[in-house]
Symmetry: C2
């Protein structure tokens, strides 16, 4: 199984190896990347905690507080934000199993409004979209998304459109989602 | 009880009136201020959700997911962040009942490191400290805090030092903690 004669097949093997090695969710990959960015003092970007409504907390004796009733809330902002090279960074990350499009139903309207608002105030706001079946992860700016929704009636972003309007985010083992390389094109 | 003859006493009355009218926690006052900033399109700053570790989730029939076991985590970042006039904003807010000092034990070391890190990357990082007994709320930059901890052995910030090194944040009914007016002095 070594020494494939064509460049193309070697690429396929390499890609398959990457996928096998990876096997982590988009969230885990982003968290891992953010840890490296923090550790190398390149950027300070964190995932926000999951928003929940706490209803009931118990205080068992000699033990820490235990939440015994809580519910997930619909997020009003994005999942990730922070600072890079003096700029506020704000993004949402989503995976899709589809090979042909990304359904806009994956985004809450509040999240889109939030990204437009932080962009207005000076942040760099974007989506990270992973096509899990294709093992490709894209950067898409909030402005491109807004252009699309202002001009199209369809409720999903075609894969080919994302590929053309966004940026493929490079993968490596240590930094699985190196979106800073894309940001550097804008900074 | 009306028509006090001296200016001083009138001030005391006015202040007492403010306190009575307020009666909200620092967190509620900041959230209210942030809502007004968002509504007026002045800034986009939010409180992050409380970080928790979710252990168990039930899915009762025909009902939404219910978290039945979860624990509070020690926060590794600050409670608030966002964007104002193109700058990343990051701060922690704390209350103290003391009239003479603010104990540094109120801050987790991780939170201080986090504020130093985001400052390094270009954010405006600060503390909001309320002396509840005095009904005074101060802005204190992370740099002032770092100076203090680098040069002092004591584990609390004296009230007089905060008053001299920080900025009193103006109060009004609609915007109880108008920290943007302090930020404007730096921008």
């Amino acid at each position: 199984m070594i020494g494939y004669p064509t460049k193309k097949k070697v690429n396929v093997i390499a890609k398959s190896g990457d996928t096998a090695r990876r096997g982590l969710s988009l969230e885990e990959d982003i968290n891992q990347s953010n840890l490296v960015f923090l550790d190398r003092n390149l950027a300070n970007i964190h995932k926000k905690p999951t928003p929940i409504t706490i209803v009931k907390v118990d205080y068992p004796m000699r033990s820490k507080a235990k939440i015994t009733e809580a519910y997930f809330k619909i997020p009003s902002t994005t999942d990730y934000n922070g600072v890079y090279k003096g700029r506020a960074i704000d993004f949402e990350a989503k995976e899709t199993a589809s090979k042909t499009s990304f359904s806009l139903s994956n985004l809450h309207p509040h999240q889109v409004q939030h990204m437009q608002s932080v962009k207005f105030h000076g942040a760099i706001a974007f989506l990270i979209i992973r096509f899990t079946s294709l093992d490709e992860t894209y950067y898409l700016s909030i402005d491109k998304l807004t252009d699309f929704t202002n001009n199209q009636v369809r409720k999903s972003l075609p894969y080919e459109w994302i590929k053309a309007q966004g940026h493929l985010i490079p993968y490596n083992y240590l930094i699985p989602i190196n979106y800073l390389t894309v940001l550097d094109m804008y900074l």
